[in-house]
Amino acid sequence: MNLALTEEQDAVRGLARQIFDGRLTADRLKEIAATEDAFDRALWEELARANLLGIAVSEEFGGSGHGIIELCLLLEEVGRAVAPVPAFEALVLGALPLSQFGTPEQKTRYLPGVVEGKIILTGALPEDESSVTARRDGAAWVLDGLAFGVPAVHLASAIVVVASNALFLVDVASVSTARNVVTSHELRFDVSFGGVSAELLGEATAIAWLRERGLLGLCAMQTGVAEKALRLTAEYTSSREQFGRPLGSFQAVQQRVADCYIDVEAMRWTMWQAAWRVSEGFEATEEVLIAKFWASEAGQRVLSAAMHLHGGIGVDVSYPLHRYTLWAKQIELTLGGAAAQLEKLGDVMATCD
């Protein structure tokens, strides 16, 4: 047993952090948030140059052929930086199932572009059942129905879609979309599949496969979000004085910050335990549910405490903390919040006894 990162993993984390820290100043974040796409394309290109977009893509297509653990390391840094890039969408929802289930032709069509940062993918992965249906039309497949709240559609070339209990690939050009704004000021789209043609990627097991990795990716981002929010809080309370001493020397503040630290550690290690099991090919249903439960509930607790301990400045949009709050809530609610995970965990416990 050795839970330390390998040297290579450490290097991935270091590289990602260096890129995000270097580029994403508070001003830059505000600037990007004000653009129509809310996408930092220059940052995306830099990630591509560092070959971080290809981290979990095989070397055959220009990637570096690592696995889910390295991808989670990258996503943790994305969360830490609340980086306005569709890393989760393109690399988890899009590239992972393509790499796993795609035909050689499909992979050749998309993966090199993903690695180079030229093609963005996304996915319409519902929490439970899909509201999109698939039917055969000769040898081809045709999709109908509406997928709600799909991210990054405005940037993407193709969408991985769950429909009628199978996984499909659809060209974005063929669908029509309506734009929504979520509280995190990011964009979500209602995507309408009015009889568009689709390519089959995989059956029901492929959906479970993808959902497991989707949940892991969210947990990794949430760990980064919460960890950085906690660090910001520790810094802020250490420097701000009230009643003649630093806020951080007040016992009530210390107690709350310490509880946050425990929450973050729990988020981190539930996530790594699950990620490791997935990467080893072990059954990980339960571990993934635990990780997402903890990411959701503890994420809310940590951000709530961070906002509180920042006082008024926490809600001020010129200070970065509010972005962490919004991301944490968004991540929490994606693919099921704490209550949903607990319920499923209860099912698992009830059935396997």
Binding site: G149, T183, S239, A252, V253, H308, G311, V315, L333
Partner: protein, 393 residues
């Protein structure tokens, strides 16, 4: 022990109800449904003033009805019942007005009280500073005496409605060599005076409820001073007590209402026992607030001074508000992340209630020390001249 209206209370209620049933529908037919603009709120407020309901708890000689706390609560209940509790000039009615009535000169009262009642003056407060939040008395804004005027320099923050306000209540330091609570003076500032600059702060929910206010050589006539120099903290205490009570006794505006929560739940989860549990939990909190409110009113009515009740209520409201908002967002599921007017908006706003008007921690310290008699927390700056207390930013 009697939770019922007394005969006199029933009379007040009937009168309020009759007036509202006649007046509110008329106004509403002209103004439509909420949300209302400041101008619409002002217009409703003028209607209230015309009916002597502008601030019925103020003394009769200043345009009120001299209502006691129970009568005021009955009025608030009836207003809420028909949906006519439209917020307008909260700092004016909740903080500045009561302070001027309690500590102002006759001239100040004549100048401002009726103008507030008639909707002609909007007020803001200029208390908090970047370096003085919970520890308000450590504020650094300076006021120098210059003949019949004071010259004020400094920076204030978290001033609600400062961008629309006509006047502000200002707390500033006139003598840094006195201990921090003793070197303060309290002023009325005309927000249109040269040197007053207001910069709205954009907030997480997209709105700008608050502003930063920069004061550069702002000249304030000495006639605008409330209380003696050195009395500033005492006068501010009146203001803050009224603020706490006005947050504490107005549940309605701050929390996502239980009935709406129940609607969302019913439309999505019919019979889920876990959801029902959570709903019931929030519901009990809402009811408890109601009971606690009644208890305070009853105490006030008997002429007893509430000790920590304002703190209790404020904590209870802040908790209810957070729990209701978080539950609401959860009930919406993935839709909870879509920007919207419902619980999402409350989620973005709930933290403020734990901070503004005195943080949760401060309220709990008040309860522990004043009600339960616990020893005071160590305060290393106690009694020191203000100028010797700052060890860092």
């Amino acid at each position: 022990m009697d939770f019922n209206d007394s005969a006199e209370e029933a009379r007040v209620r009937a009168e309020a109800r009759a007036w509202l049933e006649e007046s509110f529908p008329v106004w509403r037919s002209e103004n439509g449904d909420p949300p209302y603009t400041t101008e619409q709120a002002r217009s409703w407020h003028r209607a209230l003033a015309a009916g002597d309901y502008g601030a019925p708890h103020w003394p009769v000689e200043y345009g009120g009805r001299g209502y006691g706390p129970v009568e005021s609560a009955i009025w608030a209940e009836e207003k809420a019942r028909v949906g006519a509790n439209i917020v307008f000039n909260m700092v004016g009615f909740g903080m500045a007005g009561p302070t001027i009535i309690a500590h102002g000169t006759e001239e100040q009262k004549q100048r401002h009280i009726r103008a507030m009642l008639n909707g002609n003056e909007i007020w803001c407060q200029l208390f908090s500073e970047p370096g003085a939040g919970s520890d308000l008395a450590s504020l650094a804004t300076r006021a120098f005496r210059d003949g019949d005027e004071w010259i004020v320099n400094g920076q204030k923050v978290w001033s609600s409605q400062a961008d629309e306000a006509d006047y502000g209540i200002l707390l500033a330091r006139f003598d840094p060599d006195k201990p921090k609570h003793e070197g303060l003076a309290y002023f009325i500032v005309d927000m249109h005076t040269p040197g007053v600059e207001v910069r709205p702060l954009r907030q997480i929910d997209g709105d700008a409820h608050f502003s930063e206010v920069f004061l550069s050589d702002v000249r304030v006539p000495d006639a605008n001073r409330i209380g003696e120099p050195g009395d500033g903290w005492r006068v501010a205490t009146t203001t803050l007590m009224h603020e706490r009570m006005s947050i504490g006794t107005s549940t309605g505006g701050y929390t996502f209402p239980f009935v709406k929560l129940a609607e969302i739940a019913r439309s999505r989860y019919a019979l889920d026992p876990v959801v029902r549990d959570n709903l019931a939990r929030v519901y009990t909190q809402e009811r408890i607030l109601d009971f606690l409110n009644k208890r305070i009113l009853s105490k006030l009515r008997r002429g007893e001074i509430p000790t920590a009740e304002g703190s209790i209520l404020k904590l209870a409201i802040a908790n209810l508000s957070s729990d209701a908002a978080l539950l609401g967002v959860h009930l919406l599921g993935p839709d909870g992340a879509l920007a919207g007017e419902g619980p999402q908006q409350h989620f973005l706003w709930e933290r403020s209630l734990h901070i503004g008007g005195g943080t949760d921690e401060i309220q709990r310290n008040v309860i522990a020390e004043r009600v339960l008699g616990l020893p005071r927390e160590a305060r290393p700056d106690k009694g020191l001249p203000f100028s010797q207390t700052r060890t860092a930013g």
